[in-house]
């Protein structure tokens, strides 16, 4: 065994020299295989497609060529960390910024990344309290975090529901795990504030069998169901809703339950009317998508055309966008050369994308305007809602903010506890 | 001669099948007591009753005048009764040495921590018992196979190792279930020698089941004959030879 591993050591050594030339290297730990491949594949395709676009169209970042390597980790935490360590050794200045794309890996990197001076971008997942950049200088739960989303979902229901949410009965159907517990505090407090009845129904992992949960729901006869699901649980939930005859247009999913995968796996028409939150709109009319088609796919360099414009592919593009813009911002301060992790961190923390900037970049309103600061690593905190019309997602609301004050307080409280446990003294870098 | 073991009207049945019906006999200190009988006569069942593997529906067993209630094989072992099995019950995955060492389990008292550290008391104990085991190994002349896995040994030697394991417990009463089954003549002679030596050297009382009439007649002091779970004869080899019932049972007449 030891001999063999020595061999592989040589291989890794060899590979290190592939990215020696002067380029901004993007390390990507992704999953296109294993239990959650269906979600990973479009996301990482989009991410890479955008990087390709920049090389093809603009010749990189301010003339700095972009290179990347994708390391497959199959959503397995140990493997994910292995990928992270491997990517760390690649490129001239390391992997620029890492998108862990998995709860387990995110937690695993909380300690490591700061030591290695590599920014973590957790786009719509991970630790919500990382929004407080004074405690988590290196972590960026960009665009919108879980708690803002939860609060936004409540506000959305409040808008949709006839004469408001007050006095209504809401069921929170959640994946019984850390991920599923994340929104509960927020929703409970909202329930107190807005005086609606909250019933929490957990679904054990993996959630491919929800008979009993939905019979409970049917018994409760709630006005709305919030679906905080993951993986196969989403499709099953929608299916089982139909089975017990619960109206799909009274279900609101969160953004990991709001992609084509979930609705189509349930069989397109079954999901008709189903609402879901998102931090990025789907659709391929945006200029950036057209450009990717023109500059990347038409040259036969694209990943897989069928994903273009889907929710998760677009999310991948957005993920790439914020990362890249972070680098650009850094370049504007440190000069147009290859940026180090530390410089990118500064760039991200001072990132600001106004409506016009986004328009110029060809994103239009695919994402809300973003403005970060040391205290706020979230940037937007806005959520949008889409509805499944049986074939595709259609916009069903404007950008919704939710109860910012409530969320902020909770974040600071939780971040403070983390700081205490890790004995960190909160400060801006 | 004082009684070591006393079997009183034992009846045992599995579901409908009667394995033993109202069997009684006794074993004197330091004698060699044989149980014989055709196949399915309930010989092994008898031994299993004695060391608590089977619970008889009726009847009692007393050891050194003490009756035992809800006995378990473990308790029996504690009383100083060891046995070997008809179809060898050695620990196939372990070396001969370890197999015999297991026989010393009751003699070793060091606790888990001491064992984990393998230090002081435990180490002494290990060495001490190893010496004892080595004596038995010498006694049974199996030095050369000490470290071999028992699974790899020929049948005859396995039987011998099993005897060694039983002896390692330094039992007062030794139950041997067909110790010579399937052995060739030389091996049988060896085994006879060992049994007699054990009986005389360690002063161990022996109850054995055996098919080979010749052997039984030669080495045992007294013999019990079972047939279809009933006792049909009990006495010295000579009495048994002349017992008509026994002859019939063996010739299958009557």
């Amino acid at each position: 065994m030891r001999k063999l591993s020595f061999l592989s050591f040589i291989f890794i050594f060899f590979l290190n020299h592939l990215y020696a030339e002067d380029s901004q290297f993007f390390g990507i730990a992704g999953y296109r295989v294993g239990p959650y491949a269906a979600g990973g594949t479009p996301f990482f395709t989009g991410y890479i497609d955008y990087l390709k676009l920049l090389n093809e169209r603009d010749g990189g970042l301010n003339k700095v060529n972009i290179t990347w390597e994708e390391c497959e980790f199959e959503y397995n935490t140990a493997k994910g960390l292995e990928c992270y360590e491997r990517l760390k050794t690649r490129g001239k200045t390391g992997p620029t910024a890492i998108h862990p794309m998995s709860t387990g890996v995110t937690y695993g990197l909380m300690d490591k990344a700061p030591k290695d001076e590599i920014p973590l971008i957790t786009l719509g997942y991970g630790r919500t309290d990382a929004t407080d950049g004074r405690v988590f200088p290196w972590v960026f739960p960009l665009v919108t975090n879980y708690w803002s989303q939860a609060s936004a979902i409540i506000e959305f229901i409040n808008q949709k529901a006839k004469d408001g949410i007050q006095g209504k009965k809401i069921v929170l159907l959640y994946h019984d795990s850390a991920y599923g517990k994340e929104p509960q505090n927020v929703i409970e407090q909202e329930a107190k504030k807005l005086k609606f009845e909250l019933v929490k129904v957990p679904v054990p992992h993996p959630g491919n069998e929800q008979q009993s949960q939905w019979l409970q729901i049917r018994k409760e006869r709630p006005d709305w169901v919030i679906l905080w699901g993951w993986g196969v649980m989403n499709a099953t939930a929608i299916k089982t809703a139909q089975k017990v005859g619960f109206k799909r247009n009274k279900i609101v999913g969160n953004w990991w339950a709001g992609s084509e995968i979930d609705t189509e796996a349930a069989g397109g028409k079954v999901a008709k009317g189903y609402y879901a939150a998102t931090l990025n709109l789907s659709g391929s009319d945006f200029k950036v998508v057209q450009d990717i088609k023109k500059y990347v796919y038409d040259k036969g360099k694209g990943g897989n055309e069928k994903y273009l414009g889907t929710v998760l592919w677009n999310r991948g593009v957005v993920a790439a966008l914020v990362t890249v813009e972070g680098v650009k911002k850094a370049q504007s301060k440190y000069g147009n050369k290859v940026m180090t992790g530390a410089q990118v961190r500064w760039g991200l923390e001072n990132l600001s994308l106004s409506k016009d900037d986004l328009k110029k970049l060809g994103f239009g309103d695919m994402v809300p305007p973003i403005k970060l600061s040391c205290e706020n690593h979230e940037g937007a905190g806005l959520t949008r809602f889409q509805q499944w019309d049986g074939k595709q997602w259609t916009v069903a609301s404007d950008w919704i903010g939710g109860d910012k004050k409530l969320v902020r307080n909770m974040i600071e409280k939780s971040a403070a506890q983390y700081a205490k446990e890790k004995n960190i003294t909160p400060k801006c870098l | 001669m004082d009684k070591l073991l006393d079997i009183e009207n034992i009846s045992l049945s599995f579901g409908g099948i009667k394995a033993l019906t109202d069997v009684s006999f006794d074993v004197y200190k330091n004698e060699i007591r044989a149980i014989i009988g055709p196949n399915g006569a309930g010989k092994s069942s008898m031994l299993n009753v004695i060391n608590g593997v089977y619970k008889p529906q009726k009847g009692q067993v007393s050891f050194k005048g003490k009756y035992w209630e809800n006995i378990t094989p473990f308790k029996v072992a504690n009383l100083g009764i060891a046995r070997t099995f008809q179809n060898i019950a050695l620990f196939k995955g372990m070396s001969v040495l370890d197999n015999i060492m297991t026989g010393r389990s009751l003699k070793m008292k060091s606790n888990l921590l001491e064992q984990a550290l393998y230090f002081g008391k435990n180490k002494k104990e290990e060495i001490l018992n190893r010496t004892k085991v080595e004596e038995i190994i010498d006694f049974l002349q199996i030095e050369h196979i000490r470290k071999t896995l028992v699974g790899k040994l020929p049948y005859g030697l396995q039987k011998r190792v099993e005897l060694a394991r039983a002896l390692a417990a330094e039992p007062e009463l030794l139950l041997l279930d067909e110790p010579m089954a399937g052995m060739n003549i030389e091996e049988k002679q060896d085994m006879c020698r060992f049994i007699l030596d054990v009986n005389e050297h360690f002063k161990t009382t022996i109850v054995l089941i055996e098919h080979d009439m010749g052997v039984v007649m030669d080495i045992s002091d007294r013999i019990v004959v079972l047939d279809y779970g009933l006792k049909i004869g009990d006495g010295s080899p000579q009495d048994i030879r002349d017992n008509q019932k026994v002859i019939d049972a063996y010739l299958g007449v009557g």
Binding site: G34, P204, N208, E209, T236, K243, G267 | F14
Partner: protein, 298 residues
């Protein structure tokens, strides 16, 4: 009361879906004494191949079914040739291990050939409440569940007949009792194993179609194997009938528990309740539902 019945019936019906998976395990355990860890992978492999062929070659339902059945038979035969035969007469644990290898292999192969996207699977029966029952008794019974129940019912019956009546079936039972003896009286062990694995593959296909059309065909199909374990515990690893009854019992128990006990404990107890139930059952009856008590003869 209606609600109780609703939960109970719902539970029984989803129990049938568990039995369907358990069945595959039982067949193989019966014939080759192997606990086939790859059963879940086989379900995934079969279902994914099915939709894969449907999509890529635009075949309709029945032809696809034929193709996949043949495919599963090939898998069965190859497994016998390259995995079981070289390992014949090895201890159980070794064979178990081999099926672990098989699991990785099948999962890899399926994803290599057909990709990793989630596919919907529509076998034409809508998973919606039967109107008339809903109106009459205000009770939700899914047409699909009934259909699934009927399918697995027929499957079990036909398997039972297959084993009782046909020559292969008798041979198989002989093999199950004692490999050596079976061999000695000239039963072709290899063929029997190949056949059993093929049948298990077919059962996996059926399970894959049922679960796939409920959850969508995706990697998560491999998880259904876990649903089958407590069923096997209660029903016994080697009893076809046990698999069915076990499934029904587990299904009903876990649903009732989730609905009536769950809320007191904070819910989500389904995940472990089945196992605890199976455990308690074993403590009362270690030999399982149909296994007979055996006396240690020494």
């Amino acid at each position: 009361m209606t609600f109780f019945l609703e939960v109970l019936i719902g539970g029984l019906l989803s129990g049938v879906m568990y039995s369907l998976v358990a069945l595959g395990f039982v067949l193989i355990y019966k014939a080759s004494g192997v606990f086939n860890f790859a059963q879940g992978a086989m379900v995934f492999f079969a279902a994914l191949s099915f939709v894969g062929i449907q999509i890529n070659f635009g075949l309709s339902f029945w032809p696809t079914l034929m193709v996949v059945i043949i495919l599963m038979i090939i898998v069965g035969v190859l497994t016998e040739k390259f995995v079981l035969r070289p390992l014949v007469n090895q201890p159980q644990i070794t064979l178990f291990m081999a099926t672990i290898g098989l699991t990785f292999f099948l999962e890899g192969l399926a994803q290599l050939v057909w990709g990793t996207d989630v596919h919907p699977l529509d076998i034409g029966i809508e998973d919606a409440p039967i109107e008339f029952i809903l109106d009459r008794f205000d009770m939700v019974i899914s047409a699909f569940d009934l259909f699934a129940a009927i399918i697995s019912g027929t499957l079990v019956v036909s398997l039972a007949i297959f084993f009782q009546v046909t020559k292969i079936g008798r041979a198989l039972r002989a093999v199950a009792d004692d490999h050596q003896a079976a061999l000695s009286i000239g039963i072709p062990l290899k063929q029997i194993w190949a056949i059993v694995w093929s049948v298990a593959g077919f059962v996996a296909l059926v399970a894959g179609l049922m679960w796939g059309s409920r959850n969508g065909v995706q990697f998560a199909l491999t998880f259904v194997a876990l649903k089958a374990l407590p069923v096997l515990i209660i029903g016994g690893f080697d009893s076809v009938l046990g698999a069915i009854l076990g499934g029904l019992i587990i299904g009903a128990l876990e649903k009732l528990a989730e609905v009536y006990i769950g809320p007191m404990l904070g819910g989500g107890i389904e995940g472990w309740f089945a196992y605890v139930a199976a455990l308690l059952f074993l403590l009362i009856r270690p030999e399982g539902m149909f296994g007979e008590k055996k006396i240690d003869r020494i």
